[in-house]
């Protein structure tokens, strides 16, 4: 690739040392995010989506640690930075939006105090300038009467409004990448779409890339350019959203697609994948999905599938497609 991607994650491994041995929560995950791109990251809870986000922004909670691989921001490694340079990247170059707006804001400080503090940490300006910026930001994320409400405390805002404040805070220092970790899960269904719209618009406006972590395929379908599917800490499939949704290749993704109801397709049944994702200390040998896979083959129980390129833009980690490739070779 000639163009350097904004973010490049190479063979990331995250481990948790525990009494019963080291648990591998993320195992050999690689993906890129281009400038201005929205990458959706889906998977069940515990698949390692949030941990991937935490690893990128350098906030893995001990004893969790990056045990292998590289994370590059515009071609420079950031996974091995010291605490202080990494802190300067957080907020300034990578912003983050958490799941629960009710707990993301410090209840003892006004919205103004939290915004101004964040702006002035990264941008040298006077209090007054920071305040004006903060008001403009709140206005932009859709807080009505921003100038008046900025001095209110978080508990004066509704959940949806608080998440707008959180987005304003994440974008306060104009980062190039925003990691949004389940930004709408905790919200009322009626405001979820609005929040996603605000996030998408404001990032598009500023040319910021987004890594959207969610377990909701519907949100991904409407928002993302590409999608990465995680299963048990491993990448199952990655590719353009339209392709993956229309023709999922990994049996797990197919199962996930089966779980979103659509109005247009009349013959689609709601498929549930039998069983549940393995715990970290009991990941089966070979392909981690093999006990639940409808197409399981003998090989899946012994060899771990590698990512196989499918066309120029898609990759899938499933032995089904190895066979196809070999057939093509022979034929």
């Amino acid at each position: 690739m000639a163009e350097i991607p904004l973010l490049s994650v190479r063979n990331l491994v995250v481990e948790f040392p525990s009494r019963r041995g080291t648990l591998r929560a993320i195992d050999d995950v690689s993906f890129d995010i281009a400038e201005g791109e929205v990458l959706g990251m889906v998977g069940e809870s515990g698949a390692g989506k949030s941990l991937t986000g935490a690893a990128i922004i350098g906030l893995l909670e001990p004893p969790g640690r990056i045990a292998g691989g590289e994370i590059l921001l515009r071609g420079e490694r950031i996974d091995n930075l010291a605490a202080e340079p990494m802190r300067r990247i957080r907020g300034k170059r990578i912003g983050m939006v958490f799941q629960d707006p009710l707990t993301s804001l410090n209840p003892l400080y006004t919205v103004a105090e939290q915004l101004i503090e964040t702006i002035r940490t990264h941008i040298s300006c006077t209090e007054r300038v920071a305040r004006e910026r903060a008001i403009a930001l709140l206005d932009r994320v859709g807080i009505p009467a921003a100038r008046r409400r900025i001095d209110d405390y978080p508990h004066h805002f509704s959940g949806g409004m608080r998440q707008r404040v959180v987005i304003a805070l994440a974008l306060a220092a104009e980062p190039d990448l925003v990691i949004a970790d389940e930004p709408t899960t905790a919200l009322d269904v009626s405001v979820q779409a609005q929040i996603i719209d605000v996030l998408k618009e404001i990032c598009a406006e500023r040319g910021a890339s987004v890594m959207l972590i969610t377990h909701d395929m519907g949100v991904i379908a409407e928002t993302a350019d590409r999608v990465a599917v995680l299963y048990a800490g491993r990448l199952a499939e990655i590719g353009p959203v339209r392709d993956v949704i229309q023709a999922a290749e990994h049996p797990y993704t197919q199962g996930l697609m089966g779980s979103i109801p659509t109005l247009t397709q009349t013959d689609t049944r709601l498929v549930q994948i039998p069983g549940s994702m393995p715990r970290l200390d009991a990941i089966p040998k070979g392909c981690p999905f093999n006990p639940r896979c409808p197409h399981v083959m003998d090989r899946c129980r012994h060899d771990r599938p590698v990512l196989i390129a499918r066309g120029s833009k898609r990759e899938v980690a499933c032995w089904l497609y190895e066979a196809v490739r070999e057939e093509v070779h022979h034929g």
């Binding site: 912003g95 958490f98 993301s104 003892l108 503090e117 964040t118 959180v166 220092a173």
Partner: protein, 328 residues
Amino acid sequence: MTAFIIRRLLQSILVMLTVALVAFALFRFVGDPIASMVGQETTLAERQELREMLGLNDPFIVQFFTFVSRAVVGDFGISYRLQQPVMELILSRLPATLELALVSGFFAFIFGVGFGVYTALRRGGWLSSSIMTISLIGVSLPTFLIGVLLIWVFAVEFQWLPSFGRGDVVDLGGWWRTGLLTESGRASLILPAITLGLYQMTLIMRLVRAEMLEVLRTDYIKFARARGLTNRAVHFGHALKNTLVPVITITGLQLGSIIAFAIITETVFQWPGVGALFINSVRFVDVPVMAAYLMLIALVFVVINLIVDLLYYVVDPRLRVDRAGAGH
């Protein structure tokens, strides 16, 4: 806000009345007040007359009402042992106790919060572990033993500090004698203040540490870090402020315990305060002093409780519900 204050005030009055009932029962039924007041040679008729005069034959409710209305204006009668008005005795000794309690409370708070924050932030470090271990010994050490050991080391062996009394005191306006303004007064205060404050310090320290660890795990701290705020801002601006909300409540209540624990420290250091007066009243069954001390301690607790509630209100904006309507 006003409704809140009124409700708390009513509760406080109720608590005070309950304690007054206990104090009154103490006064009325422990020993025979007449026997404590008169000599052996007093005749039965004279005793009966005194009984009538003092209202001891009135109905219980009337006596209780008299007791409360006297207590409100500070009249707790005459000490059996010292033959002086109880209130006078207490007031003359109160400054010594208050100075001791406030200084050690201040010491306990500053060091307790400091060590608590340090051990929470440097969890697992050797200094943190040492502080935690020593604090466990501190909790197990009886207060009086700390005092005795401090006297041994600093007064007997090194002879740096005085081992008893208040040193020189200065009379302020005739009703407050302070030891804070003279060098010997300040030197005399050091050992008792440490003795009294050490236990509270370890309690505050453990509380701050536990709260701080809890706060450091919250989402808003994670989000503050994710915004790239400096460690200093995250730890001291965000985490500490949130930690202090519950700590203030408990520390406030600790101040009440400090005044009660002063009994022990005052005995060890022969500190001329209210606690020493109380110990002697227990020893000699001097009921009026015991009753008055009980009321005094209850009053201190109630007042501190009220102040703590108000402080809580000031610190935590979530409680100021009506503020949003005011539209600042």
